[in-house]
Symmetry: C2
Subunit: 122 residues, 2 copies
Amino acid sequence: MADPEAVAKAFTDHYYNTFDTARANLASLYQEQSMLTFEGQKFQGMQAILSKLTSLSFQQCKHHVVSLDAQPSVSGGILIFVTGQLLPEGESNPLKFSQTFHLAPVGGSFVITNDLFRLNLV
Amino acid sequence: MADPEAVAKAFTDHYYNTFDTARANLASLYQEQSMLTFEGQKFQGMQAILSKLTSLSFQQCKHHVVSLDAQPSVSGGILIFVTGQLLPEGESNPLKFSQTFHLAPVGGSFVITNDLFRLNLV
């Protein structure tokens, strides 16, 4: 069993760096059964998820991870729980966000089976 | 398969009402394999988790759920993702929090296998 904290650190470094520099490349982290709930909107499957993530109102942004927690899940996967700050291009004040990932092992790597994202504005 | 949203609503209503009125009764929702990460501190097993939850700095508090998202997980469980406000007794300003639960079906009900909690102060 991979160390959940080490996987979580490596995964989130890769995920947010990819999001902030080449968002379309996130495609490799999702599969057909993957689910995304983004600010309450639900998407299933890599294509639907990427279509959403690449059509947000901002084209450039920067994620900053404030807290990162991980636990093994009963399915042999890893749960990752992030709080952080998101700074869209042209904004001066970062937005707080929270995000949960559920990763499933596939071969020697991991894919995202569940992704839940919320801005914490209130 | 139970409807994830309906389970999430019923579960969180019960969980936070119990937390706010009779915290020790949360014991029935955890098992020996349950994991809690509370502000980065890790606890495993019902007794360790309840010991933590019943020894917080405030004895009375009120949770208010702001957003509630749910997805089925690959293990047949349900992932629940909450953002909300926590008002400890004697405080005038609520604290924002985020919390993720992973529920596993046991008999006709659910237990918490994973619980991750963070205050979003920065």
